[in-house]
Amino acid sequence: MEASITLKAVGKKYRSNIVLADLSFGVEKGTTFVIVGESGSGKTTLLKILVGLIERDAGTAYIHGKDIETRWKETRSITGYMPQVSNLDGELNIFENLTIYGQLHGMTARNAKRQAILWSEKLQFKPNLRDMPYMLSFGVQRKVCFARALIHDPEVILLDEPTTGLDPHSRTTIWKILDEYRYKKTILFVTQNFKEAERFSDRIAILHQGNIKMNGTLDRLIETTHGLTRYHLTFSDTPPSDLINDLKDYPKVVRPSIHGKDLEFYSRERRQFFNVLEIALKYGLKDIDTSTCQLRDLFTGLTEGGLE
């Protein structure tokens, strides 16, 4: 498949703080690529570089095969970007915000107006078109930002935590629209919501301290755990900390941790689970839950020292 977004050894630092370090990856045309990472991992910086808001210090980046530095006019016109925080122009009403943005991206005034009305209907903020941004709730402002990112029908859609702060209904509306675009446009979104990442991605990358730690389809990522299972044991009372010490005798019990009345650990061997169960029974075991590794587990493992 043809590449839509390509990054080669991209680096960025703010003063002495390295935000992105030698970052390389590619996103294929018409796919949905998700980047998950904790706060400060460089997700927003990466999107800002792609969209032209900030310059990178090293490396090269391409959108649809065009260098974002030398052919910025073309790359910016085919890119739609929704920032993490609402950045609507406070001096213009919502309708003007959308139409001016559209015209800045090469739309005619008439087309921009038509699209602004269309998007306001789609995202149910038509009654707010004449309102100023400060008059709107955070959720509506986010929806306007989403509409603004798509008003000029971009080929590449970059979304920074698109559903943060939205009510469940608006969240569903946004995902329904993105589902319509799936396989037609390239969508790159960054999020901390693992459920959304699992549900809507073709590929997922885990960004940690400015570098991609893992990159692939969800199934492929889960495969790398080689059948690691998460066990969740609930006790009637908070278990003593001795329990963790007891578990240290079993090296194949991975990352045991106590959270209140719960004990959580990972293991590949069912036998290890029975060993733990034997010890747990001494402390008033109440409930057991097991599940295969999910993205959240993989992420926690990768960013907090590994699942081994």
């Binding site: 970007y81 943005y101 005619t108």
Partner: protein
């Protein structure tokens, strides 16, 4: 639509929300300058080169009011963009260069400055009962116009590099006070010490004001100051553009 016009349109949308206060301001500005400086200094300087002070001060008011309007418009528009990330990020994300929005801000400030120039010429000319020939009015327009360009260029320059509101206020007050008191618009340069006179005369805007005054006094046409002011405005704009281009995405 040409992106420059889209940016200008955006600023027009913003202005039209408080167009009444702006209209009041453009009418009040030359009248205030006339009343505050003209009426008070008339007692101390009754005439300059056989011309009553009110007639002598007219070019100073025309140039000062247009300069102030162009400067403040350019400053406020640029300051707003550079200070709040909202508008800046919209422009930076759009497929337009920094030159486009800087040029748009220059043009926008020039438009408002030109409107101010027209209002000031009309008002002060009417109050003074100045009946000049069409040629003289045309020459005055040509001589005053560079002050609009210079004001717009200086406004975009200072607006691009000042971040703090308090500092912005101080700089603007200083620029306006220095311009009004040292440009020779209201106090004739011959009232200043000889050494200062020589220094001030080197500034293109001061030369331009003096040329406008000489046009009223002796019907002499001099374009030296006018050309230099346009040149200076151009240099300031290019310098600012280069610096903004280099720094804005850092």
């Amino acid at each position: 639509m040409i992106p420059t016009f889209v940016v200008i349109k955006r600023h027009w949308y913003e202005l039209r929300r408080h167009v009444l206060s702006w209209v009041i301001f453009i009418f009040l500005l030359p009248i205030l300058l006339y009343m505050v400086f003209g009426l008070s200094l008339f007692k101390i300087i009754p005439s300059v080169h056989q011309l009553t002070y009110f007639h002598w001060v007219a070019p100073g008011i025309w140039i000062s009011s247009t300069f102030i309007m162009a400067y403040l418009t350019a400053f406020m528009s640029t300051f707003q963009i550079r200070r709040s990330n909202r508008l800046l990020s919209i422009y930076l994300k759009a497929p337009i260069s920094c030159w486009t929005w800087l040029a748009a801000l220059m043009i926008w400030a020039t438009i408002l400055g030109t409107v101010q120039m027209g209002v000031s010429l009309m008002l002060i000319g009417f109050i003074n009962g100045a009946f000049y020939t069409i040629f003289k009015w045309a020459m005055l327009l040509i001589m005053i116009f560079p002050s609009v360009l210079f004001g717009a260029a200086l406004g975009t320059f200072t607006g691009s590099w000042i971040r703090k509101q308090v500092f912005a206020m101080l700089v603007n007050i200083v620029i306006v006070i220095v311009f009004l008191s040292l440009s020779g618009s209201f106090i004739p340069l011959l009232y200043f010490p000889a050494s200062l006179q020589a220094g001030l005369s080197a500034f293109p805007m001061v030369q331009e004001i003096r040329a406008a005054q000489r046009l009223i006094l002796y019907s002499e046409v001099q374009f030296g100051g006018t050309i230099l002011t346009i040149l200076l405005a151009g240099i300031l704009f290019v310098l600012n553009g280069v610096m903004v281009q280099r720094r804005v995405r850092r």
